[in-house]
């Protein structure tokens, strides 16, 4: 069995350019609902871009310099936008039951991305360096300890929290979102329910 050949043949069918960069869509793709995903992704791009600039300087810079504070503000509002559109996207996809017709993996990857986003954002709130960080750090220690995560995570160690926030978790998130997008493109957009329940394809 030739692994290379198998991967090539599999991807050339399932992830052809026609699927990755479609220039057509089914006619039912005509609602604002379909923009929530792309807006979520756009917000994520701004979150990452502003985060990279902040990480290239240092936490004291974004805490005390005016340019740093502005970048922190961009990061803050892009995170708000990200979760706003993510929530709309998630709720809309639920009501469209977009896991139908072989799209279960797309749904699972999306939900996993959501979970990693929540944890990433939390470590970001703890990296702000203000009272909010300080307070939520000491508050959340009981939750992390109680849940049994204390063997891995010392939430009072800023080195670990910051490292998770700017490297480990974003890389994981980008990986999951990448797979989610590939899964979406592989299967295409979920078709509407037929009006006849008997003709549903699960």
């Amino acid at each position: 069995m030739n692994w290379t050949k198998q991967v090539r043949e599999h991807t050339s069918v399932n992830l052809s350019w026609d699927r990755l960069l479609p220039s057509e869509q089914p006619i039912y793709v005509s609602s604002l609902v379909y923009s929530f995903g792309v807006f979520t992704l756009s917000s994520l791009v701004i979150v990452i871009a502003s985060g990279i600039i902040m990480a290239s300087k240092d936490p004291v810079w974004y805490q005390f310099s005016s340019l740093g504070a502005y970048l922190r503000s961009v990061h803050f509002w892009s995170v708000q936008a990200f979760f706003f559109f993510l929530t709309l996207h998630l709720v809309a996809q639920f009501f469209m039951s977009s896991w139908r017709e072989g799209r279960g993996a797309t749904w699972v990857l999306g939900v996993l991305s959501f979970a990693i986003s929540v944890i990433t954002a939390f470590t970001g709130y703890l990296s702000r360096g203000d009272f909010f960080s300080q307070w939520n750090q000491v508050q959340s220690k009981d939750a992390f300890n109680g849940a049994g995560l204390d063997g891995f995570l010392n939430i009072l160690n800023n080195g670990q929290v910051y490292g998770l926030h700017i490297s480990v978790l974003p890389l994981l998130l980008i990986f999951l979102v990448g797979l989610h997008l590939l899964a979406v493109r592989r299967r295409g957009v979920v078709p509407p329910y037929s009006e006849d329940k008997e003709r549903d394809v699960e």
């Binding site: 960069l21 220039s23 006619i27 009501f95 749904w107 939390f122 360096g129 300080q134 109680g146 509407p192």
Partner: protein, 322 residues
């Protein structure tokens, strides 16, 4: 037209520009966010340090420090992952029946408040300032029997309730405190100078300049931070983390989690954190495996919202008799 999903030819297709849609959405959002960020700014409230508390409220600071010396503070008796409790009693371990995952890892982040928060910093201060009285006071305290230490602490605790403050100086009526008054006065002076944080931080970073602020944060984690958080409506039972500064939106996406802390049994159980964590984990698994959960996966079919989302398509189909 080149539609790449041959099994779905049951729908007519139309022109679509993925890259254009992505670019327009990105640029649009970028403008909106850059403008909002410029006008609204981001929330920020300065941290509370032990120096602030020592300067602004010396009595409160001394009460906090004494809580470490007499073991009445919750960190002194916390248990894993920080210590084995106080005199065999642990107050920080959450458990449901015999399930207490908190204890599985032993004590990976050791904190002994009497030593780490009081006696070690004071020994450093005594050495650095050639203060033999302080050095002797530390030694007398350490070598005294436990019952004697607790008697001094209890007397001092009582005296603190009638203590006077002039400027930043703490005045205690004379009494049987052994070395405790001198220890507490020295701890207060050390905190007021800002040096206490330095020593606490060096303890958790193996003496080098690193990022672990565990002991510095734990020193304040009890009443000092709780009192301040309460004034800002940031306690757990006040929806805690959902609030941010003033009118700024907080991390509202944590609402399902913080909601648990407002209602029994999570809000009243001593193992509330443990229960909340595992409740959220179960809810998350339900969400993740929703497509395969009978009943739940048919919910969107029963709720008529899909008719609204695809109303254009249903109209089109009727008009074209598809």
């Amino acid at each position: 037209m080149n539609w790449p999903y041959p099994d779905e030819r049951r729908f007519p297709i139309k022109d679509f520009d993925l890259i254009k849609e992505g670019t327009v959405s990105l640029l649009l959002l970028m403008v909106v966010i850059l403008v909002i960020a410029a006008f609204a700014g981001a929330p920020y409230r300065p941290t509370v340090t032990n120096k602030d508390i020592a300067l602004n409220n010396p009595v409160f600071f001394a009460q906090t420090a004494l809580g470490y010396l007499d073991g009445s503070d919750s960190i002194a008796s916390y248990g894993p992952p920080y210590n084995h409790g106080w005199q065999g009693q642990t107050t920080g371990v959450q458990s449901i029946a015999e399930f207490h995952p908190q204890t599985w890892w032993g004590v990976p982040y050791p904190v002994q408040p009497v030593q780490d928060f009081i006696l070690t910093p004071l020994s450093s201060l005594a050495t650095a300032s050639h203060n033999s009285i302080l050095k002797d006071a530390v030694q007398v305290y350490q070598t005294s029997p436990y019952s004697q230490q607790m008697r001094w602490n209890a007397n001092y605790k009582k005296a603190l309730s009638t203590a006077k403050v002039v400027g930043h100086q703490l005045y205690i009526i004379p009494g049987d405190y052994g070395p405790v008054d001198y220890l507490m006065q020295s701890e207060l002076a050390m905190a007021q100078s800002g040096l206490l944080s330095g020593v606490l931080n060096s303890e958790t970073n193996q003496g080098v300049y690193r990022w672990n602020v565990q002991n510095d944060l734990l020193f304040l984690q009890g009443k000092p931070l709780h009192d301040k958080a309460k004034n800002l409506n940031m306690l757990g039972e006040q929806w805690g983390i959902n609030h941010d500064e003033r009118a700024y939106p907080g991390p509202w996406w944590l609402t399902p989690y913080t909601f648990l802390y407002q209602v029994p049994p999570w809000s009243v159980s001593p193992a509330g954190d443990l229960m909340a964590a595992y409740t959220v984990a179960i809810l998350f698994l339900l969400l993740m495996f929703l497509p395969w959960i009978p009943g739940l996966n048919r919910l969107p079919r029963i709720l008529p919202l899909y008719k609204l989302i695809w109303r254009g398509w249903y109209r089109y189909r009727k008009e074209h008799d598809l």
